[in-house]
């Protein structure tokens, strides 16, 4: 199942993907521990343990090619990182790299 099609998905504040199953942080203040299938950011880990703020995490993801992270959850058909960032108002500069549905590890979508 593609989380982008699930009911009431939440938007990732890093990459703008509209597919988080839970809000990034719980009302108690902790991270959800969910890993964004798109950018790979883990809420409660990359921020609380590794000290990454959303802007820095986004910059790194883009600098790394803005690739789809998950091997087990494939990107939606026609997924485009730049369009996703722009739609979410998260595109940092007009020069943000446009990437198609490349995969981090070259795995075949399941």
């Amino acid at each position: 199942m593609n989380p982008g099609t699930q009911p009431n998905p939440h938007r990732c504040p890093i990459c703008g993907h509209h597919g988080l199953e839970q809000p990034p942080r719980s009302p108690a203040g902790g991270g959800s521990f969910e890993i964004c299938v798109c950018c790979g950011f883990q809420f409660g880990v990359d921020d609380d343990d590794r000290g990454l703020d959303p802007a820095t995490a986004r910059e790194r993801w883009i600098a790394g090619g803005a690739r789809w992270f998950s091997r087990s959850t494939p990107p939606p058909p026609g997924w485009d990182a730049r369009r996703q960032l722009e739609a979410a108002g998260l595109a940092p500069t007009p020069g943000a790299p446009a990437t198609g549905p490349k995969r981090d590890r070259g795995a075949t979508p399941s």
Binding site: M1, A28, G30, S32, F33, I35, R50, R71, T73
Partner: protein, 252 residues
Amino acid sequence: MDSPSLPGPPRARAIGIARSGFGPRLPWIALLVLAFRAFAVQITREPVVEATPTNALVRWSTDVTCGSRVRYGTDREHLDQHADDAVAENHRATLRGLKPGTEYWYAVGTFRIALATNRFSTPAAAVIPGTNPDGTVPAAPRAPPATATWGNPRSLQDHFDRHGTDFGTRDPDAYAAKAWWFLQEARAGKHRAKIDESGDLRVYDPATRSFAAYNKNGTTKTYFKPGRRDYFDDQPGKPATLRQLQEFPLPR
């Protein structure tokens, strides 16, 4: 006894003496300052103890940066063991190898002095279904399949890709099984554990720096080794009691 005759008027002599003595006196002044600081240490947050049947974590704060030492023992007059940790203002030290169901006296302090003495008791070792009376986990049946133990089985591969190497596991199923065993150990009171207001459990083993979070139904949210030393302390929730841990669901 003859005083050596010094040249010049008395004022000049006094200055001369002060100058000639300045070099050798400097280390003494520094030592005095250090000694004063050592004895001037004040506790700003009273010690808090989190005890499992065999370990206890002691935390306290001081007004200045200094060493962390907990002296402890079962006889108040003979605190014959100690646990040290880093120089800090917010201190912590872990006492290991304690006896279950035993009263211990302890004194927090610096490497040189004790600042405050108190006592705590370790809880009795719990006899939990699925564990031995000493809290060890018996060589037991295989872990249930990851589809039963991992909260969101679709996400398991992603968690394994990010954290599987933390535990030397070769595949997602082995990684999920290890997280399930970690919960069993937590239920036996072997690790630090917190429950937040939504009922989720967070478990941390300082010895291996392993951390896991579990949904209130016992399934695993994540399992990894944080880099930050205070990561678990900064997590929400209150220390879980042994009873809460015993009653925490274990997927089977």
